[in-house]
């Protein structure tokens, strides 16, 4: 590269040294390069597929899948289509990530606060936890928990039976749940109504507080509403108390709700791993708030709970939320490791599909597309939330 200084005195810049033209050239060259590379790979692929007469296209989605899936949120049998099987996989991924995120964030916040506790034992233990679980690959943790689940627990016939309706065996945890009854649907509806009511109540109470300065016992009231509505609905619908009890029939337990070892191992591994990172984020967030703030708030006579909720948390959240988002995304992405321990998540089902149809390109493209959607949705939601708390801070 010739030094540009030499060309400065010249009145007429040559084509090569005109920044505007050169930038266009760079862009054209790089676009051309990427385009050519893409074209090259694409034509190779087309040629390879044709030469080996491998089928292409998404036509297979409508064919019969003819494989069973271990656990599913919607009705599914081997007679359903590949599309349905993949849908089951997506739902399983959503389930594990959803529960995993909630648990990991809760546990992470607890441990993050414990890390700052003035109890020496508590803070030491939490820092040991954080170090250990951060530094062991999540896949290894999954294998460990899975092996633990099926090697340590007894067979269904010798299941651990701590109390009525709960069995723990190497087929998973089975427990009694209320038998299906229309009342449950009313309860769900009532709960949704309660949520809406609480939302409006909260808005009203905040407005009133801003106007008059009087506070309203929000926590107690909303808890009451949230509990009262569903219970009322249950009572009105005839107060059904029938339970679906798990019974050992033939090989496995029937009735009740089963949490499989695969699911538990995956959940345990993901939650314990991610919680360690969340704890670090929470700790950093809380520490980022100047100590003077706490002292000032205490000087104003606020109780320590209120100091945390009114002064520290709103400020800490601004620091916490962005890295927390990426941890949530990490958990969702790590849930794809389910394939290693046999939980039928999306990657696992897509893998089987790839294998049976031989259409690897379509399969991997679907995996990538689905996870991209998850990522975009999560970050869109968290961006919205981030904006919201940024406004609150004013």
């Amino acid at each position: 590269m010739v030094d540009t200084k030499d060309s400065l005195p010249e009145s007429k810049t040559s084509f090569w040294y005109d920044p505007a033209k050169r930038s266009i050239l760079y862009q054209v060259v790089s676009l051309l390069f990427v385009g050519l590379l893409g074209y090259y790979l694409l034509s190779n692929t087309r040629h390879n597929l044709e030469r080996q007469s491998i089928a292409t296209g998404f036509g297979f989605l409508q064919k019969e899948a003819s494989f069973e899936i271990g656990e599913s949120l919607v009705a599914y049998s081997a007679a359903d289509t590949y599309a349905r099987a993949l849908w089951v996989g997506i739902l399983n991924t959503v389930l594990i990530s959803g529960i995993g995120i909630v648990l990991a964030v809760t546990l992470g916040i607890l441990i993050g606060i414990a890390r700052l506790s003035n109890n020496w034992l508590v803070s030491r233990l939490s820092s040991v936890y954080i170090e250990v679980f951060q530094d062991i690959p999540v896949l290894l943790q999954l294998f460990f928990w899975y092996a633990f689940c099926y090697e340590m627990l007894p067979s269904p016939r010798q299941a651990i039976h701590p109390m009525t309706g709960i069995f723990l065996s190497n087929r998973g945890l089975v427990f009694a749940v209320p038998a299906t009854h229309p009342a449950h649907r009313y309860m769900c509806a009532a709960f949704s109504c309660a949520l809406i009511a609480v939302f409006f109540l909260r808005r009203w109470s905040r407005k009133r507080q801003e106007r008059t300065g009087r506070t309203f016992p929000m926590l107690g009231t909303s808890l009451g509403i949230l509990l009262f509505f569903p219970i009322g609905a249950w009572w009105l619908a005839g107060a059904p108390t029938a339970m679906s009890m798990p019974v050992l029939k033939g090989f496995n337990f029937e009735g009740g709700l089963t949490i499989s070892p695969e699911f538990s191992a995956l959940l345990m591994g993901l939650v314990l791993y991610t919680a360690a990172f969340v704890a670090e984020i929470v700790r950093a967030g809380i520490q980022s708030v100047n100590r003077g703030q706490t002292e000032a708030a205490m000087a104003l006579g606020l109780k320590s709970g209120r100091v945390l909720s009114l002064v520290i948390l709103p400020q800490a959240l601004r620091v916490i939320v962005p890295p927390l988002t990426s941890q949530m995304l990490n958990l969702t992405k790590n849930s794809s490791l389910a394939v290693a321990i046999g939980y039928p998540d999306f990657v696992s089902v897509a893998g089987t599909t790839i294998n049976q149809t031989g259409q690897a390109i379509e399969g991997v493209a679907m995996i990538m597309a689905v996870y991209l959607c998850f990522s975009l949705l999560t970050s869109a939601f968290m961006n919205w939330y981030n904006k919201k708390i940024a406004l609150v801070e004013r």
Binding site: R51, I54, F67, A78, N252, G342, G351, Q356
Partner: protein, 338 residues
């Protein structure tokens, strides 16, 4: 900028070099001096390294036979363990030259997956293994059972079909690696495990306590296990195909690794043609005239290979059954070698 130009040049150069290497599999294999075979790696008796790291099994010997045919040396084959998921792409991409991984021949695989299957080297069928203490006598009693099954295999479809056809319910546990799947079964994660009966027997043979597990009498599918090559390379397919057939033909003619040297002097024209004393076969395949001699001498005939790896004398103790010669009620039948 200089850096960019250099990179571009390097990439272009790389592609040009890559573009040059391309010919038939036989030429490629000859050029690199060995055959790359995709094998299972987890199934005792078919393809698994022993404690010294030496590969052993029926599928291994099949690949060695191909090496003996092409190079006259069974050592010129290298083994890549492939999973059920990666096996076909490994072949399609040219990472391996031949797939000898107890792989079932099916219509879809032969067509839409871009593979070509050669002579079957083991006729198998899918069965069930259960712990003895469950007291199950027939697969029909398995309603509601948790079934360990390898994902993405014909086995997975067959078992789903079988349970559906018999109006029974099942709960599959699918684990990618064969070894882990059996580990889960032996640890009691599933009530039964389903796979090709040969595989079940092989894994039972090395189980902590083989006597605690039984194979159920039902065979629910046909599983012709055959080596596969890339679709469209007929010359290479012929070589793999006739390498296996040569082992079967040798057994038909009573040629073993022990007597093959004596039989070189045989006056039987069939044997003379087979062993390349009378030339013709080798040239037709594009191989050395002694290819069949090399296979039998170095690997053995099909009966020997069977006995050594999975037969009555081995830990698996399998019957010949469908894999006996056609003259003894089996399916092994070689076309004339002339």
């Amino acid at each position: 900028m200089k850096c960019f130009r250099l990179c571009a040049a390097a990439i272009l150069l790389a592609f040009t070099i890559c573009g040059l290497v391309s010919a038939g599999t036989l030429e490629d294999v000859r050029a690199k001096g060995f055959i790359q075979a995709g094998v299972n790696g987890d199934v005792f008796g078919f393809g698994k390294p022993d404690e010294k790291g030496v590969w052993r099994g029926l599928d291994i010997d099949t690949a060695r036979a191909v090496a003996a045919a092409v190079f006259g040396d069974t050592g010129k084959v290298k083994f890549t363990p492939v999973t059920a998921k990666t096996r076909f792409t490994a072949l399609q991409s040219g990472e391996i030259d031949v797939l000898t991984r107890n792989c079932t021949q099916t219509l879809t695989r032969d067509t839409a997956l871009g593979l070509d299957f050669c002579q079957v080297n083991y006729y198998d069928g899918q069965g069930f293994m259960v712990p003895k203490k469950l007291g199950v006598k027939s697969a029909k009693e398995l309603n509601g059972a948790t079934v360990c099954v390898l994902p993405g295999t014909t086995t997975e479809q067959n078992v789903a079909d079988y349970f559906r056809a018999n109006g029974m319910k099942m709960k599959p546990v699918v684990i990618e690696s064969t070894a882990d799947l059996y580990k889960a079964y032996f640890a009691g994660r599933c009530d039964c495990i389903t796979s090709d009966t040969s595989q079940l027997a092989g894994n039972r043979a090395v189980a902590p306590n083989p006597k605690d597990h039984i194979l159920l009498p039902e065979i629910i599918s046909k599983e012709p296990l055959a080596p596969a090559v890339r679709h469209g390379d007929n010359k290479w397919k012929d070589i793999v195909h006739y390498s296996i057939l040569a082992m079967i033909a040798a057994e038909e003619m009573g040629i073993t690794s022990k007597n093959v040297d004596q039989l070189l002097k045989s006056t039987d024209p069939k044997i003379q043609r087979f062993l390349g004393v009378t030339p013709g076969n080798g040239e037709a395949l594009g191989l050395d005239e002694k290819f069949a001699y090399n296979i039998v001498k170095q690997v053995g005939n099909y009966g020997e290979v069977f006995e050594r790896n999975v037969g009555a004398g081995s830990p698996l103790g399998l019957e010949r059954g469908l894999n006996a010669l056609w003259t003894r009620g089996g399916l092994m039948y070689a076309p004339p070698f002339n």
